[in-house]
Amino acid sequence: MTLRLGLPSKGRLMEDAFAWFAARGIPLSRDGGERTYAARAGWEGLEPVLLSAGEIPRDLASGRLHLGVTGSDLVRERVAGWERRLEALAPMGFGAADVVIAVPDFWVDVRTLDDLDAACAAFRQAHGRRLRIATKYHRLVRDFLRAHGVADYLLVDSQGATEGTVKAEAAEAVADITSTGETLRANGLRVLDDGVIHRSEATLFRSRTAGWGRAERAALDRLLERVGGQTIPAAGG
């Protein structure tokens, strides 16, 4: 019996996750140096698995992982109805960033979603097609704009350098993740006053669909005592 724990395999997110567990008395280490993706835990019953942060939500949803560390933005984007399949156990206090909608700063007439909607209508009329919003957060952005009654936009996929898409005329506005807004500002963009879609943070998630036998539950309870997350109810899964 082991709890499979998915961890980001590189970068700042990985380092912060390792440090977070270490600070709580659960040492994690890479097996054999920088280039391998194997890890081990100094904690009985825990099997760390290094994965791309973007794949951890999917593996939690399918039950291949019992636990996983990833951004709350990625879980909401990648897992439809995420709360039925995953449970957020503990916010981890790092990796904070906001998913926001931003428009060119010189659109002085557009400060709110209401304005954006009106601009979309006029744009469609003038150009004969919908105003494009570049993003990698299709589900988050669509749900948000639908909830706020914004229409006549088109999401175009952008998996990187999204802030540059307006200048490149590949999109008219963007929805992207930002921690300080610096890159957006440097690219002549401004976040709408009511344009924060989600405040994201690295979070320890539990899969509701993984096998949760008596031993797994006991191991999780011991782990949660250390890390200070909420415990799961005895019944159900």
Partner: protein, 362 residues
């Protein structure tokens, strides 16, 4: 896909062919760019979009209506009636057996002709008759009434256009109506912006395809909007009264006629409703048994712009409609490059109909 569903789709198709329709097919792969634009937000979010490296994005057809309209408008024939049966594809957020991502649809569409209410009654009666053995409840509505009410407002063309555009988004429609009626104040930031001598002072560089001229045009529109007098309380009350209608069709017609007495813009739409009910009655559909709801169809497909209807499983409000349809003249105008023809149609979820008929649990 279960055999009873296929048999039901075949049975429905035969019923529609017997009503004089010509059988048509539509490719499963449809060009995404063109069609995504025509569907409302709901279907757009649910469409399966696949990438083809040589031809760009394609979409698995989420319904037949748009491909059939496209085919009809390109062929340029009139009048015509079509029937089809086949799978449609829509992503579902929940793994709910009542809402599969792939399901069979059988449909019937009438284009052209000189008696639109007669065509509406025929589509409704044909679908109802084909499902007559199932315990179904009918709900109807008329987007045309709301459009006529908006058209009759004393508001500027800009305000009317904004209301028309958000007819299908009740929350935003309500927010606009409240603002135009002076019930909610404009955002303070907007008032500050319009008071500035140079609103562009300190703003960032001009980037992207939305030009400075477009920003200036919107500022002009905002100034005109701020100067426009509010809608009267009576005007808002009229729209509220229309949206609140929920009654058997004859009583609803009386209400609409009473409202039209004080709002002449409603009169033609009220008469269309009366002619439709008469046409339905001639086809054996008792108007008393038809429910009419003023807001029916407002949250479904954006392309319906007149009569709308749904047939629902009695005592199973959790299920999607077994059949639904309506009038979509505006869609023919978009796909006909300015040429429009009257068009009305409806489609049945064949698998759901089969399950209601034969049981088979959930």
């Amino acid at each position: 896909m279960s055999t009873p569903a296929r048999r039901e789709a075949r049975r429905l198709l035969d019923a529609f062919l017997a009503a004089g329709a010509e059988e048509v097919e539509a490719a499963v792969l449809q060009p995404a760019d063109l069609l995504l634009d025509l569907y409302g937000e709901d279907i757009r979010a649910r469409a399966f979009v696949v990438h083809d490296p040589s031809r760009g994005d394609a979409m698995l057809r989420p319904d037949f209506t748009v491909p059939v309209v496209r085919m009809h408008m390109e062929a340029g024939r009139d009048p015509a009636r079509y029937a089809y049966a086949g799978a449609v594809f829509r992503q579902q957020d929940e793994d709910d057996p009542d809402r599969p991502a792939e399901y069979l649809q059988a449909g019937f569409e009438i284009f052209g002709g000189s008696d639109p209410e007669e065509a509406e009654a025929e589509v409704f009666a044909t679908l109802s008759a084909a499902l007559a053995d199932l315990p179904l409840r009918a709900a109807t509505g008329d987007i045309g009434l709301l459009l006529a009410a908006v058209e009759g407002l004393s508001a500027s063309p800009a305000r009317k256009a904004a209301l028309r555009r958000h007819l299908w988004r009740p929350r935003r429609f309500r927010a606009l109506l409240d603002r135009y009626a002076g019930r909610t104040a404009p955002p303070p930031a907007r008032e500050r912006l319009l008071a500035l001598a140079d609103p562009f002072e300190g703003a960032g560089p001009e980037i992207g395809l939305r030009s400075r001229a477009e920003v200036e045009a919107r500022l002009d529109a905002l100034r005109a909007e701020a100067a426009e007098p509010p809608l009267t309380a009576a005007e808002v009350a009229l729209i509220d009264a229309l949206l609140a209608i929920a009654a058997p069709a004859p009583a609803a017609l009386e209400t609409v006629r009473a409202l039209a007495a004080g709002a002449p813009s409603l009169a033609p739409a009220a008469e269309r409703l009366a002619r439709r009910l008469a046409a339905l009655e001639r086809r054996g559909i008792a108007p008393e048994a038809l429910r009419f709801e003023g807001s029916f169809g407002r949250t479904t497909l954006e392309y319906y712009d007149g009569f709308v209807f749904g047939l629902f499983a009695e005592r199973r409000p959790d299920l999607p409609p077994v059949a639904s349809g309506g009038r979509y003249d505006a869609l023919t105008r978009v796909l006909g490059q300015g040429r429009a023809v009257p068009a009305v149609g409806g489609a049945v979820r064949a698998g759901l109909a089969a399950r209601l008929r034969f049981g088979g649990g959930r």
